[in-house]
Symmetry: D2
Subunit: 446 residues, 4 copies
């Protein structure tokens, strides 16, 4: 079946490149993937997948870091103007931009879940001519939004996988669940899909990331050591006054924020493992000659373990509060994202290795890599593992023009073929999955 | 003539209120007063004034703090949609939003200049119901722009004065020059009008501000001690990296900016007089999990004398540069505004006092007040004084709902009648101006 | 009598130079002027003054910023080794180092008080050869203590004045009170003498400072605008831990102190008048590889008025507390010094001017100067003025080698002759004092 | 031979306790271990060791962080007054306080080196009664110096080992080299002994630390992951001025230091391994009312690898320099200590394990521990390993009253018996050392 797969991939590949560039051009950030999700839903349905979408797969109360209603509405309107499918938009309206496509073979076998993410970053993409998307005309046209992490390719991989599996469905067993998640950036979206129950019937789960320091042609079967993380929005409210006429009347929220930022970065390292802190955004003040009465920070803490992340969080909150006392301003702190630390299932690694090694373009396979960041797929891995299933997070290498989250981030698009083949082989060889023989008749037996 | 003036004012007053509220609703910030300036030009022309406008009265190279071409174009377009006069827009296009109206009586006499400013502030106006403009439906509909300093009233005062003087033109001598200046906030616009020569033929010059801590019914004849000031835009350019995966690769522009902000405010006081420093705006970073690669600050220094301001500026630049060294980022500093320290001409005070005392609603007149802020009308006062003329900056009291530059700033609109009468009397009684007898035949004699 | 005075001054002058250099060499800081005070007491007594000293003139509870008992004892012991008078030491023991010498003429007349201060600063004096005291062998031998403000000369002026007045006592009226105050630096000592009642019978009061930016040969009759001030000692107590092994266990008092210092200096200027803040000393941490568990700051606030100083103090306390919250450490704040804002009595200025003009070496007399610093003689001026008396604080010019409080501070010693003559003339011409005719028989009449 | 060893230890143990308490009482910090070193030299010589000491074992140019000549002289004088041996002092004068004792059996065999360190910390020891050394009268009498890390016990262990090995010398082979190192705190001394060649003939090397989180009765055979470290002294020189009178003239070194401290702690974590930064000491300013003209910081960086430490160091220097630019002060940076990252030789672990297990009081032996701090014995391990030898750094557990470097640090003294027995067994069983059979005749064969 590998040969058939290879031919399919070859013939479909140009289409995938076009899709990825289209998603890249119309980059949409977390919870406003209206255009992206509607295209995904339309295609999956067209190809014969059973679709679950919107509130069915996104639990409202578990969403984190959702933009304002006004922004959601404005973005939905923009998406419509940029080609979002009008028949699908109502389903996603209000920021419920998740899609799940299900292929039930009717034959006994496990439920295998694949998850990709769809959101862009809040970055202004470079328009310099040494940046390929700019030179070739698919640079993001949405100001301040850019696929600088590769989720455009992830979405495409999900769609390509859907095509390939549907084309080869006679060779599959059990059920396939393709999960298209919104709002991975800021680790805001996975929890809402997990709490909607999307993962509850999944026996084997695969997700992954392209790039991440691994070059094209290499595949890492399982990532370990994703950092636990908490995302905070901090607002300081002081009192504005005229900086020339009455400086003494002001309560300076900008200085509170600046003090907080400096001191947050000075939280001591933890001897028991990695920790991180970042004040990624600071916005303060309204005018040059006005003592700034308001300030806003986007902060995140991380830790190699949940305990270390908790330590960072406690210290951070202390500092944020102290800075408010200092400048006699009011602080408010909102938790807008969270992810666990979680590891891939060791038992699954040899299986993935054997599939990846079948892919011609793969010249090196590694078992494990230690992840440096956070990823809310960890919620999904954990849920599957908690239910007795196995789950792994792969890294599919691709050579990058500039690092993730850089304004000139760009990928070698051939990674999409490799990823699609690797995932497809995992589905096609379900019979080799650990603890699963072809004779098993139902999910319940695992 | 005072009686005639009083009746005129009574009859026109409702119209003025309407105009002020209209300007308030369509607040336009510095260099983008497209709608405001086009309405001013249209009305002045209609009433019979000779109009100078656009590049004729604004010297391009002397403009400071001009927004980007894109923003200018976008705002011009918006202005058109909000009622800007299409026939006037081309004159102002690109941010040359100054207007001068000239009334030449043909009779011998001095050239008397009056200057008002037209721009709003970059403040989001309060929409709470205890804020009158919100309760009464003329809250600013332009997001992030608000007349929180009273320039809507200033513009209206200029227009009302134009009406009144034209109506009483038979009682005037010499020439009247009504100067409508853009971009006073940030002290960016006056210099460009001065360098275009607008003040060069002015013998007596009056400008002023409403409010400023003086209650309704009081007039201050001359402000002293305006602070010299310099406005700086600072940009830090570092390097973004993933805050979880590769924090060590980042060059943190946000921390440079935060350090700069804190240390700027710590510049020592000067023993020889007042000094000020304000970081009014700080914007840094693009995403929560990205080490911030860019930051932007709006800064201003002030001093009781130009020397003290120079001292503050030198220290500020040193700190801005040191913060860049600290975090290994590149800094750039742009001067976007400047004003002198300048005093009103003492010789003019008794004349102004005698006119102000004729206004029925004025119950107290003070000679001088010490100003706490900066004001670029000082460029105009200075130019007139340098040419041997006399100039004064008045304060026309009005009781405020909240201080200048506050999101709930609001005025007692009756101040407009007082201001118009006071200014009109100064023009109507030109014969009493110091060093000017009715017998003088030409400007040259001053 | 001026001629006699002049001859006296000429003959005594070499002795004064020797005394000043001796005091300079054995510099003693506030509350430990054991050697200095004992020499003063011995000489005054020898010359025939009635002596009040120690607890008689220093109210214990009103002392501020008194060193530890251990330090006091150690310094007293050192003083003994350096020539302090053993018979006087018990009087001053424990830091009651004030002396008052009284000369009662028995003739009707006012009580005239003169006050000088005796303490050195906590500065390590320069031993470079371009510093005269070092080159000439009278550099301070007490480590970390230096007469860098001229109180060695002040003490000498007090003694010289005592000599001269005693020599000319037949020409005096009323009573003379010579007040030798400890601990002026840090404005710690005056209040304790005032509260001991030392000023309660004084009708006319003179104190003053040499130098202060006024060159040799000039005398300023009255200083105005002394800044109100408060002196604070701040201690942060955190928790030490090994910086390599367990950084996360530490509570970093050094970072709390550093944050406090930066933010204290950022307290906004006050629009109503001068304000000051200084963190003069910061000491934190015990070892390089230990997370600092303790920190200590010496802070002072000032204001042109007591209200402005109060504003600075409130903001400072807020910041100090906020920094403690930030780093989860305990703060303690102790007030260790205070002075008022106070002005010289205008009525006294013409009298002082007329005396100063009689001094040959004086070539310029100014009525007033605006002081930039603080001075606790203000407590004494205030008490005398509150009782209906008149008081002034003079500045007797002297050209300085380096500014006050610099490690190379040095004076032109001729200032002592000028000061002594000026003060002596004020006493000798008591009959010319405002509101005081020779006929008055009692203090009560003022 | 174990039995004989055990009896020796039992009989000598009380003496050891006395020595340790004596060293504790007369704590001497790095490079001024005059008393300690002279006692060590005297005893070793008395017992028959060949002594190398002073400049013979300390290379002058490789010493780091040596105190001033004045302090060295003052401390040497104090040591003499506290019982230092006068005949030995000249050898150590000037801070060459290292001693090596050599025992050559004359029999073939390896050269085995043992190293202990002798210096105390700059900590003021607690005198509270719940602190045993205070309650029992051997609290440090040297102000600001305290054995808060256990080097008093280390020195005693070295001496006890010397006694035991000399007593059992007939059962030894090859040569024993006992190395008593000064100035381990601040990692300042080891490099100078290595560069003097002390380690060049050592085939097997053992050093170790007591405590370090390991309880009494446990021995760890080899420490891994000592952090590379660099120690920096930073001085800022600005300009002092009167904080009330002329604040604008000052160049504030305290604010430069505070800014540096805050920003140093904000150096980003490194994704490739542990990093550390500590500003352990900050001292700035001379008086409350003086703008601080000088500041001093003790800083250290660390890294899991030398590259990471280098990264921290480069960033630190950048920040230190930037802070100087900010406040227009001059900075100077001096490297005063350094240590490598280094691991114990794996091949040696089983040998050490087998010896430690013979010690009765040892109930648990672990192979490895990951160290959290730095240690300059790493220079010695590295030199021995570079020469083809084997080296290990042990941890000999002891239960602590308070953590290392705390003012109430105290040990369970029984650890000394365990350490001496373990080390002695390592020497006595030299024949079992890896790659070393009794037949080998010379070092050269290894």
């Amino acid at each position: 079946m590998n040969q058939q797969l290879k031919q399919l991939v070859e013939s479909l590949s140009p289409e995938w490149t076009a899709w990825r560039r289209d998603f890249h051009k119309y980059a949409e950030s977390g919870w406003v993937e209206f255009r992206t999700a509607s295209i995904v839903a339309e295609k999956l349905q067209e190809w014969g997948y059973v679709i679950q979408a919107g509130k069915e797969v996104i639990r409202d109360e578990a969403r984190m870091g959702v933009p304002s209603a006004a922004f959601l509405a404005e973005q939905e309107k923009r998406a419509l103007g940029q080609g979002a499918r009008p028949e699908w938009l109502p389903v996603f309206s209000g920021g419920f931009t998740g899609v799940v496509g299900i292929l039930d073979t009717g034959r006994p076998g496990p439920t295998i879940g694949f998850r990709v993410d769809m959101d862009a970053l809040d970055i202004q993409e470079s328009d310099e001519q040494d940046h390929l998307p700019a030179a070739n005309g698919y640079v993001s046209i949405n100001p301040g939004m850019m696929h600088a992490c590769g989720h455009d390719a992830h979405t495409t991989i999900g769609l390509g996988l859907a095509q390939v599996l549907m084309a080869m469905k006679d060779q599959l067993k059990g059920r396939i669940k393709l999960i298209f998640q919104p709002a991975e950036e800021g680790v805001r979206g996975a929890k809402a899909m997990v709490e909607a129950g999307v993962l509850d019937d999944v026996d084997f789960f695969f997700s992954g990331h392209i790039g991440s320091g691994v070059p094209l042609g290499e595949v890492v079967c399982g990532a370990r050591g994703y950092l636990a993380t908490t995302k905070l929005d901090v607002t300081y409210k002081g009192y504005s006054s005229h900086a020339g006429g009455h400086p003494e009347d002001g309560k300076n929220a900008l200085l509170a924020a600046a003090s907080a930022a400096l001191n947050l970065h000075s939280i001591p390292r933890h001897s028991q493992g990695s920790s991180r802190i970042n004040v990624g955004v600071l916005q303060a003040g309204s005018g040059r000659n006005i003592v700034p009465g308001a300030a806003y920070l986007k902060v995140e803490t991380r830790g190699a373990t949940s305990d270390i992340n908790e330590y960072m969080l406690e210290r951070a909150i202390q500092i944020i509060k102290g800075a408010a006392v200092m400048h006699d301003v009011q602080e408010s702190i909102e938790i807008v994202g969270m992810a666990n630390s979680c590891d891939s299932s060791s038992e699954l690694i040899p299986f993935i290795r054997s599939q990846a090694e079948k892919v011609e373009a793969v010249h090196a396979v590694r078992d494990f890599v230690v992840a440096g960041g956070s990823e809310d797929a960890t919620y999904m891995l954990q849920r599957v593992q908690d239910n007795g299933g196995l789950a792994s997070y792969l890294v599919i290498g691709t050579t990058l023009a500039a690092g993730h989250h850089n304004e000139k981030f760009d990928i070698d698009e051939r990674v999409m073929e490799i990823a699609i083949q690797t995932y497809a082989l995992c589905a096609l060889h379900a019979g080799e999955l650990p603890g699963w023989s072809g004779e098993n008749t139902e999910n319940g037996e695992k």
